[in-house]
């Protein structure tokens, strides 16, 4: 056996039990997600799936995390550590813990983490975790995205590590304290119970697993699973050329000034380790785009897990060991308490991911995509005239496009980069049944996709007309100034754009971050960005360009200008000769410029 080959299998003593137990944990993890989807009442969970489930071991290390949105990756470990720091030995069977504070192991305040310790032989073995984005946790604006917030206290209720169940019974004092601080006290409690139910399912299954394998074998195998994942990540990193790779991206603004905010990253590949440093990034800002370290780290991990490794690698603590992340305190990517943070899981997360992807594109050109859409949609709240009840709706329609990549066009209508298609858009029919509005359109925007040999995906234009009396609309997006980047000659996608009453005398272009009060009959229209293109569009197969034109994905004008493709008269038939002539001329010009 060659030396290299041998090294690959180091650390796995019993590959068969390893495979069996690891798969079992993934199945359990998936079952947690199914329980949450089917029993929660907020559309954000049941329809959209904005939550994640994970299983940590006795040492606060994630062992399995397959179900959930990428923006929760790995950060659940910080919450579990906070519980163990605070409660030490006072953690018992029948307990459930809760936490949301971003400076104590949370992400942003709406993400409430529920943790249930799993005991066997009176000993803590595992912790089942469910982190879920609740509709409202108080703060200045309904929906808890507050563009005017200047400190965390403005953004809603802070929950440190607290016990919320004892002996399997809820501690109602704690529950009521949380409920009274939200605008949706009933929903939040039902949905927290759904979170607990999903952890209970995991508890039951984990105990069955230990029944079968015993504590010692289970624990040893868990160590193997960590080692196995670590080993795989090390192998992938070792296969990259050593060097320092840099990337940079900009947030439009923090909502208070129009100054762009720089995120700079240097990724050093050295042997089988990666060092990720954010030196040169801008300082923390006044508005709600500051990204606490757990969120920043998550974005780095997402960048690695989507490009450096293949999708079947376990997502556990072992896999993160070879990645070392540093950021000076006080930077936008590691702010000091109490800077506001609510939009960091979307806006800043997308920008950090983009900076990391750009850095990695220097060493993995065939695996890194062009830029994806950044968040555009709003929250809309008001009193539904049909029921006289308060309602809160997230803008989960009107999604943007994915970036193109080597050999593959970006998908249309997939959403922002950090969610990677993990959020599911609700149907128009369910939306109109749930909320007081009529949808006028929701379909691909022509020419929104960045041109490229492999083009970006289109964003979808979306318009609704509101019929409640005094709706409030809060924008908390970005990418209105900075479009999704193109790679290797590909063009950037379109920029995010949104209006109130577009096409009327009352038309008003919305800022990326602001809160506005509307009246009955107003319309909201959004044009989310399409993804960036990959590679020179002049090299795109003209047949594909022809199809895109016939399908109204791009216009004939763009076909000619960006792709150098001409058509026979008014038809959709590509004029091959003319196209060749245009493209040759383009190549000649390019050579001259060189």
């Amino acid at each position: 056996m060659s030396k290299k080959r041998k090294r690959e299998f180091e650390g796995t003593k019993d590959p068969i039990t390893l495979s069996v137990i690891y798969n079992r944990l993934l199945t359990i993890n998936q079952e947690m997600g199914i329980t949450m989807v089917n029993t929660s009442i907020s559309p954000i969970f049941a329809e959209v799936h904005d939550f994640s489930c994970a299983i940590c071991d006795w040492d606060n290390r994630i062992v399995a995390q397959i179900d959930g949105v990428p923006s929760h990756t790995a950060s659940a470990m910080e919450a579990v550590k906070a519980v163990s720091r605070h409660f030490k030995d006072d953690i018992n069977a029948g307990d459930v813990f809760v936490l949301n504070d971003p400076y104590l192991g949370g992400t942003h305040l709406p993400d409430i983490t529920i943790m249930k310790p799993v005991f066997y032989n009176d000993e803590l073995q595992f912790i089942a975790i469910n982190r879920a984005h609740h509709g409202d946790v108080g703060g200045m604006e309904p929906g808890s995205y507050c563009p005017n917030a200047t400190e965390l206290f403005h953004e809603g209720i802070r929950i440190p590590a607290l016990r919320i169940y004892k002996n399997e019974e809820p501690i109602m004092d704690v529950v009521n304290m949380i409920r009274i601080n939200t605008r949706m006290p009933d929903d939040i409690w039902v949905d927290m119970k759904a979170q607990v139910a999903s952890c209970r399912v995991a508890e039951k299954r984990i105990i069955e697993l230990i029944d079968k394998y015993g504590v010692e074998k289970t624990r040893n195998t868990i160590e193997d699973i960590h080692r196995y994942a670590e080993n795989r990540m090390r192998l992938e990193i070792a296969s990259l050329t050593d060097g320092v790779y840099t990337g940079e991206s900009f947030l439009d603004s923090d909502g208070f000034t129009d100054d762009p905010i720089r995120i700079k990253v240097a990724i050093t590949i050295k042997g089988d380790e990666a060092y990720v440093d954010f030196a040169g990034s801008d300082k923390q800002v006044t508005g709600f785009v500051n990204s606490p370290m757990a969120n920043t780290a998550t974005c780095v991990y997402v960048a690695f897990l989507t490009t450096v490794t293949t999708p079947d690698i376990p997502h556990n603590e072992g896999v993160y060991r070879p990645i070392h992340i540093t950021a000076e305190e006080g930077l936008i990517v590691n702010p000091l308490f109490p800077a506001p943070v609510a939009s960091c899981t979307l806006d800043t997360a997308c920008a950090i991911l983009e900076a990391c992807w750009m850095a990695l594109s220097g060493v993995l050109p065939d695996r890194v995509p062009a830029g994806w859409n950044r968040w555009n949609g709003p929250t809309i709240t008001g009193i539904d005239p049909r029921t006289d009840d308060f309602y809160m709706m997230f803008g989960f329609n009107g999604f943007g496009g994915a970036g193109g990549m080597s050999g593959l066009d970006g998908r249309h209508y997939i959403g922002d980069g950090i969610d990677l298609g993990g959020l599911i858009a609700p149907n128009i029919e369910t939306n109109e049944t749930n909320y007081p509005h009529i949808t006028e359109f929701n379909e691909f925007t022509e020419d929104s996709c960045g041109a490229g040999k492999f083009r970006g995906g289109c964003g979808a234009k979306y318009r609704i007309k509101l019929y409640d009396e005094e709706p409030t609309l809060v924008m908390f997006g970005d990418g209105k100034v900075h479009p999704p980047y193109g790679l290797y000659g590909g063009k950037p996608g379109s920029c995010n754009l949104a209006f109130i009453n577009e096409g009327t005398e009352e038309q008003r272009e919305l800022k990326a971050k602001e809160s506005v009060h509307l009246k009955k009959g107003d319309t909201y229209t959004s044009y989310p960005s399409g993804g960036g293109g990959w590679g020179d569009p002049m090299e795109r197969d003209p047949v594909l360009v022809g199809e895109d034109v016939k399908n109204g994905i791009i216009s004939k004008a763009s076909a000619l200008k960006d792709y150098g493709v001409s058509f026979v008269n008014d038809s959709f038939t590509v004029d091959i000769k003319e196209t060749e002539r245009i493209r040759n001329k383009y190549k000649l010009n390019n050579r001259r410029e060189d």
């Binding site: 056996m1 690959e8 299998f9 180091e10 650390g11 796995t12 590959p15 068969i16 495979s19 069996v20 690891y22 079992r24 199945t27 199914i34 329980t35 089917n38 029993t39 009442i41 559309p43 049941a46 329809e47 990428p70 929903d187 039902v190 119970k193 139910a197 399912v201 039951k204 299954r205 080993n231 795989r232 992938e236 989507t306 999708p311 079947d312 690698i313 999604f399 593959l408 998908r411 249309h412 209508y413 959403g415 990677l420 298609g421 993990g422 599911i424 858009a425 149907n427 029919e429 369910t430 049944t433 009529i438 949808t439 359109f441 929701n442 379909e443 691909f444 199809e547 016939k550 109204g552």
Partner: protein
Amino acid sequence: MGLRVGVDTGGTFTDCVVVDENGGIYTFKELSTPKDPSIGLYNVIRKAASFFNKTLKEFLESLEFFAHGTTVATNTLLTGTGAVTGLILTEGFRDTIEMRRAHKENIWDLRLSVPPPLVPRYLRLGVEGRIDYKGAVLKDLSEEDVVRACSLFKDEGVEAVAVCTLFSFLNDIHEKRIREIALKELPGVFISISSEVLPQIREYERSSTTVVNAYVGPKLTVYLSNLEKKLRDDGLKHAFYVTASNGGVMTAETSIRHASATLLSGPAAGAVGAMYFAELLNKKNLILMDMGGTSFDVTLINNGNVTLSTEGEIAGYRVAKPMIDINTIGAGGGSVAWIDRGGMLKVGPVSAGSDPGPVCYDLGGSKPTVTDANLLLGYLNKDFFLGGEMKVNAPAAENVMHKEIAEPLGMTAAEAASGVFKIINQNKADAVKVVSVQRGHDPREYALVSAGGACSIHACKIAEEVGSRMVIVPRAASVFCALGMLESDIRLDSVKTFYANIPGIDLDEFNRVISAAESKALKELIQEGVEEKKVTLLRYLDMRYAGQHHEVTVEIPNGCTIEKDHIERIVDDFHAAHEKLYTYSTPETPLEIMNLRVTAVGAVEKTALKESRGSRGNAESALKEYRDVFFTGYGDTVETGDFIKTPVYDRNLLKPGDRLAGPAVIEERITTVILHPGWELGIDTFGNIIMEASV
């Protein structure tokens, strides 16, 4: 009573089961003919006819029941060879089917691509007209828009039209008018409207299903109408039925209209076969496992009935028709074993299929598969593969196992094969847990039914993993689906969106809706040729806690007016179902009703299987030979496992009353049964193998 025939067209073989007047079962097999499946069907019924010493005409004339499971719709979808389809929809929403609700099945796989939309964007045309969430018309339909769309369709050679407008499940006025116009403008074109295919909220799921229906409809129409005509010309007198995804049968004409309901035609029939066994053996709780070359299908039968799920995905396309809840994973005989870069042994999901197939087939396969492992472990007989019809290359299988798995992991080829066997069994056990444990059923209360030629090699081990203590290998295991068709009732599902709250439900209104839905269902079933007295109407409600977004389907009292007492029972049943599924219920929360489902069942006469009397078993006469077979958990082999000299029996010579203790091998031409250590085997009076855990 004449002969009853079921023919199931599968990927490789077309199976035929004939049941005679006395309940005798006869099975026939021919190669499938994918280009024109009716050739394979005719080949196999000719074979059957000649077995009964009849001409084709005499044979067909003597049939009193003919059921057919077809893969025409499924293959059309899988191979992308359906009709050129146009889609007419509400203006402003032309991309619903391509948007796929922005969902990506695996977010970590940037390269994951989705199948192309069945209707390209230029053939998806919006028309003016709008209905709101209450079913009120906000804007009238623009008939000019519809005419314009049809004229473009004509130019583009469109062969089928799907129609799906917003909220048509509440008000179908626009869709019906669109169909009228399209029929006039595009004579001869196949048209599906969503308010008929699936009158249910959620436009993505509804339009996707309607598009699938239109896309596969024309091919299925041609196939079934030609076939039925030919069968009639050749002598068939009685009804010709097609099996549907819901486990029932429908006349050819109805299946054409509901083409998307035939997508699981074959496997659904297998589940019905298992239901029949449940009745026959008086075992009400069964889990059916069917293993083929590339996949493993699991279906749960609870209290004698299959569970239906209201939607699923086929070939990557969302289809929301009621279908038997079959959990399919990529774990078959052809599943490839491999070691990933971190040193973890994995089996599947890549499959060598039947071409090139496992290494031992000698057809060019170069990766070790489950079949290769089974051969190496002595489970499969290298000298009697497919009854000796096929030569296998055992040394090649061993070499590959050694090179690809054993050497890198530092073990022997047998240990590696045993590892592959263990992992595939665990994957299968997890699939069994998905339909049982995850749906709130305890597999320890279920017997496993093992179908498919190689499934019974694994069955005892899967049973151990899930805690089940009995495995049944039915006599006609390899033609299970075809047999199942003969036991299918005629079954029509309908769904009607009906919103109500409990407390607060208007009972008069509720009973009116039920009665309207039931008379419609009854009428349709009578059109299928069922006598009214043979009809049973079953009622279900899709219910949830107020505010939830996903429903639990609960059966409600049938054949009566719903009174206040009934409602209390329904509420209790819902809480219990919720508790069972999701570990909790909240009786203080009000309930919402979303849909009423009515299923009309026309009972078909069931086969009375021939029962033979038991002999005082002496299995020795069935003993063929001894061979070395690898077992774990036996004697000294508990931990690592080893080869053991094991008796091999001829299944056809085993008689009712015979009993064996594991380890043992039971073989016939197609099926191999491995009786693992710790298991005992008996033959029941119907000739089925029953294996029971002895410890």
